[in-house]
Symmetry: C2
Subunit: 260 residues, 2 copies
């Protein structure tokens, strides 16, 4: 029987001990055989970074004594975790890779900076169906219970339908009680950005330094965007691709005098 | 007169002392007023990482005594450099941001891992026309002279036409003599990937560790791809977008039973 269960690779960017990945593991154990390869420390904001100028450690760990599945703690980024899992740890290609549940939003432009989504994209590049899950609550004590039903439902659909080559899913969950969540909506990425504010300080040696902070600005009024769905109490599902070509602009660009 | 010149922000991911950024500065000085804000150390493979859990330093530096423009060395990632430049260093929005010239290819799937392109994308998010330039030569002693003519030509066209909101350019230059380069081609991102190989070793304390390496696999036979153009001796120009929504898959995804 066990052979017929899907093999599910679980990772994240908040680190292997974060509550979010524990919630995700709980759900995935209901759906398949789980293996965890996750960063040994928080990697938020790492984008699609990979480790090419440093060594990588990847060691078996026991996070909870009563777990039967295997877990590995990796010194690299989320994308490194997926690479090392598929090449060095797993003996066959996993049927699914899930990343998260992230402590904080990866909706709209946040997908670009997201370590959570970089793991899903890395899996997608390797031809593995993949989903990144994020809860709109940055707190380390965030309540992941209300998310579980929706995480399970979306994962079951992906296991059933598969995903087309070149597409992974970016799922964001509102910070609401389960009864308050209205359902799941398929969306496009909202047109939004961060307005940076740098907090400038001076260190004890008299040298100026900065902390990056900022204000999220949603410039999108469309009702089909992920930001809109989340603001209305829905779980947002955005299909994400990694062909970044702006195909709509190819014709115009070809009309430029590039070779004169 | 100086007031009418375009203000050009120059950055990269190989670090402020890399030969590639010096070549880019040489070209940009012919086209506008230059300001440099670049990482203080190599940031290759950083993807779109940003620094949110650490402090940032950003100090004026003098790399060459005879330079009249200002240069700043930043402890952060390429995306951090663009953020801090536009928020803390420049007194007005630059007319253009250029990143590179990278020591090594950022064609096809490499765009996802590229620090060079993350700087260009970050500028694009802020509404600044932006171009990332990369030479297909990883060597620190790479010859950037043959690239200069093409870098200048493409930059002049971007200054003339502008770029649509949400689009930046990814330019890759073949490792050829100037006379061997056939021209400039507008392309789409090739469908390619890295087949990872981890070089497993044991440290003096007996603990296993890995070096990430890999083999580039081009799975794209299309003649309109950047890989094809480069293989034929052309400079490739791919328009890159940061709306990652896989619009082609929205309809199918909407047919799933996500709310049952």
């Amino acid at each position: 029987m066990s052979q017929e269960k899907p093999l599910i690779l679980v990772t994240n960017d908040d680190g292997i001990t974060a509550p979010g990945i524990r919630a995700l593991i709980d759900v995935m154990k209901q759906l398949g055989d789980v293996i965890v390869v996750a960063p040994d420390s928080p990697q938020s904001g790492m984008g699609h970074a990979i480790t090419i100028s440093d060594t990588l450690f990847c060691d078996p760990v026991t996070v909870k004594e009563n777990y039967k599945h295997k877990e590995y703690s990796c010194s690299g980024t989320p994308a490194d975790c997926v690479k090392i899992a598929t090449q060095e740890i797993l003996h066959r290609k996993p049927d699914l890779c899930v990343s998260g549940i992230n402590h904080g939003s990866n909706s709209s432009i946040n997908v670009i900076y997201s370590g959570t989504m970089s793991a899903a994209v890395e899996a997608g590049i390797e031809g593995i169906p993949a989903i990144g899950f994020s809860l709109l609550d940055y707190s380390l004590t965030a309540d992941f219970e209300p998310s579980k039903k929706f995480v399970k439902r979306i994962t079951k659909q992906v296991l059933k339908h598969g995903l087309p080559q070149g597409v992974v899913l970016n799922v964001n969950l509102p910070k609401l009680k389960e009864s308050e969540i209205k359902g799941i909506k398929v969306c496009r990425q909202a047109n939004a950005r961060w307005e940076e504010e740098f907090d400038k300080r001076t260190n004890p040696q008299g040298r100026d330094y900065y902390w990056l902070s900022g204000r999220f600005v949603n410039e999108d009024e469309g009702e089909d965007s992920d930001e809109h769905a989340l603001s209305q109490g829905y779980v947002s599902v955005v299909p994400v691709q990694f062909d970044l070509t702006a195909h709509r602009f190819l014709k115009d660009l070809n009309s430029w005098d590039l070779n004169d």
